[in-house]
Amino acid sequence: MITAIIAVGILGAVLGVVIGFVAKAFAVEVDERIEQVEELLPGANCGGCGYAGCADFAKGVVAQRATPDQCPVCSSEDVVAIADYLGISAEEKEKMVALVRCSGDIPNTVRSLYNGVRDCRSAVLVAGGAKGCDYGCLGFGSCAEACPFGAIEMRDGLAIVHKELCVGCENCVAACPKDLILMVPAAATTHVYCNSPEKGAAKRAVCKTACIACRKCVKASGEEDHMEIDGFLIRSNYENPPAAELVEAAACPTTALRVDTEHAKGAYQGASK
């Protein structure tokens, strides 16, 4: 019994000394705060903050290179929790969601025959893609694939954002080869679902739901300045966004002006030619 205790004791002591020595020689500094911050982050690794995943972002936050509110997924409580932990102040930010500025689904657009990889970024390298409109949604769903939160649905060859699921990570913005996706305030409900700067006639030739810049919506908004005119295209003024009532008042002839929730439900039909 005694020998056993002594033998194991000596063995343990020798091994302990060796490990202690090596641990000293190969010491690595680890900041505990990084792990703590990482715990508080959502862990979706969506990259919406611009860092390579949540762990990297946590490093940035601790090193004060980034602020906690740069995480688009964190709720404001989460942001405050992180800020409190690190003893820094948190700022409120406005929630932004993605908007696909196109309403040209298959029934409403002219398409060319395309044969090849069914992926937007690949398709756009071949003859500008599969749609008649140079600016419209290609409909192969690269944005939907890029969305880690399942907020984008592909319906009839058109990407549709479900606003309630969107956290604003902006992954889809980078995925779209046509630069169709814009981050807009979640509070804005009414948008022009078109992004083609072409002349009205050229747009109508390829798409039934294009904005033809008839300015009915601008007139309907009157003095309120809810709409912006940009060449042959009209946009919602996101400094002062229009309300849902404007859609009815304007009676957009091509239904390019839509309320986002209704659009997501598929409530609009294109204008008949």
């Binding site: 090849g116 990889v117 690949s122 390298l125 071949v126 003859a127 500008g128 140079d134």
Partner: protein
């Protein structure tokens, strides 16, 4: 330089179908009522417009001046009035700006510069400036400004000039006819470029399937002190890197230019354009283009002015007998499919090709069975099959590690794939993504 050209590794032998138009002499296309000259016809910076709507122009007048060193000026194909600065479908499918010129029918000439008859005693720098002023680009397809290739940077010595007359693309015969009918000018062009580069001589490389062109060139070459090298028939023999290897045995390193191994490669059509510019004082406003394809009534080779719509080219070839499956600019291996007849002939449009329905069925991609045919035929010795699977799974880092950047997009792999995989499109995508990634990194 050895007499026997080396054979590069890989390559394919597609049915060349050149017989459709190889025997047709070059015909000058008739004058049209209007031309739509696409503004940006070269790789590099777009030129800057110098005319405006309503301006009267003559044939050869400057329409746009070079917008930088890697950019070339643009000249009017005929005399008339600038009707509009408009948009036409570009060769890549996206609409691009163009200058629409309504012809007055006079076709009145105004040379932007004087001919240089005594080029042998002219300063090479002046000759090079002339090549630039004339707006000559690589007419084989890429559209790279010719003068840039003739300006090796400090410290790089050029010892070999190669004129590319391989024309390895099936169907195309424009260079073939050009070498046959203007053999003397091709050889002369070779001599002029050699003088610009400070070389004694140059080599004209021609694939063996054009024996008449080789014979014609050999006679002319002796006169101008250049040589002609017959090359084995193997697609892509006309790819710059493969051509340099075949003639000099040098391998252009990945990501480098022919200059880095002391070579300059120019297309034979560019050479004749340079002759026109130097000796005749004519800028680059026309080119020989093959209009061919089985659905056409009367395929042939025409001398088109730039800005000629494709529909006109097809009309000249007698129209079609059956609806084609595809309309291509360029050859069937690397050409770009079009969905509009309003595309216009550019300086680098070597062919207008219709592919019949039975020649190319719409294919669906099947899984790779790892047969290795693509590995065998890849002239760059990369692994197309593995790379395409990586791209399919969005693993661009992997694709980069597998050297996708070395790909020259010759299409040999897709051609030979029994599973009809869109390999080439995958590589194009991967290259774009990797380059975008590099730009992001800075």
């Amino acid at each position: 330089m050895s007499d026997k050209p080396r054979k590069f590794k890989g390559g394919v032998h597609p049915n060349d179908s050149k017989a459709l138009s190889a025997h047709k002499a070059i015909e000058a296309a008739p004058l049209l009522e209007s031309y739509k000259v696409i503004m940006h016809q070269n790789i590099g910076a777009p030129p800057e417009l110098v005319v405006k709507k309503g301006d009267a122009v003559k044939k050869g007048s400057l329409l746009a001046k070079a917008g930088g060193f890697v950019s070339v000026p643009l000249h009017s194909p005929t005399s008339g009035v600038v009707k509009a600065i408009d948009k036409v479908p570009g060769p890549t499918g996206i609409s691009v700006p163009c200058i629409e010129i309504t012809a007055d029918g006079e076709d009145e000439w105004e040379s932007p510069f004087e001919p240089i008859a005594d080029w042998k005693n002219t300063d090479p720098a002046e000759l090079k400036q002339r090549v630039w002023d004339a707006g000559v680009v690589g007419m084989g397809g890429a559209g790279f400004p010719a003068h840039v290739k003739l300006s090796p940077p400090e410290g790089k010595t050029i010892d070999t000039l190669i004129l590319n007359g391989a024309e390895c693309e099936p169907y195309l015969t424009a260079d073939h006819r050009l070498m046959l009918e203007r053999a003397d000018d091709v050889a002369l062009g070779c001599a002029i470029i050699a003088r610009i580069l400070g070389l004694e001589t140059g080599v004209i490389g021609v694939e063996n399937n054009k024996p008449d062109a080789i014979a014609a060139l050999r006679d002319a070459a002796v006169k101008h002190g250049v040589t002609v090298q017959a090359l084995p028939v193997n697609y892509p023999q006309g790819a710059e890197k493969q051509l340099i290897y075949a003639i000099t045995g040098r391998e252009v390193p990945v990501g480098k230019l022919p200059m880095d191994v002391g070579c300059v490669v120019q297309n034979v059509a560019s050479a004749t354009a340079i002759v026109d510019a130097v000796v005749k004082g004519v800028p680059s406003i026309e080119r020989v283009t093959t209009v061919t394809g089985k659905p056409l009534v009367d395929p042939g080779n025409w001398l088109f002015r730039i800005g000629t719509p494709i529909s006109t080219a097809l009309e000249l070839a007698g129209g079609i007998t059956e609806q084609p499956a595809k309309l291509l600019l360029g050859g069937p291996m690397m050409g770009i499919a079009q969905s509009s007849l309003n595309v216009t002939v550019m300086k680098n449009t070597s062919g207008v090709l219709l592919i019949a329905q039975d020649e190319v069925s719409q294919y669906t991609s099947e899984p790779c069975i790892r047969c290795g045919r693509c590995v065998e035929c890849c002239p760059m010795s990369i692994l197309p099959a593995t790379i395409s699977q990586a791209v399919e799974n969005k693993r661009f880092d992997w694709a980069e590690k597998l050297n996708v950047m070395a790909c020259i997009e010759c299409g040999s792999c897709s051609y030979s794939c029994p599973s009809h995989r869109p390999l080439n499109q995958h590589f194009k995508r991967a290259k774009v993504e990797i380059q975008a990634g590099l730009r992001k990194k800075g």
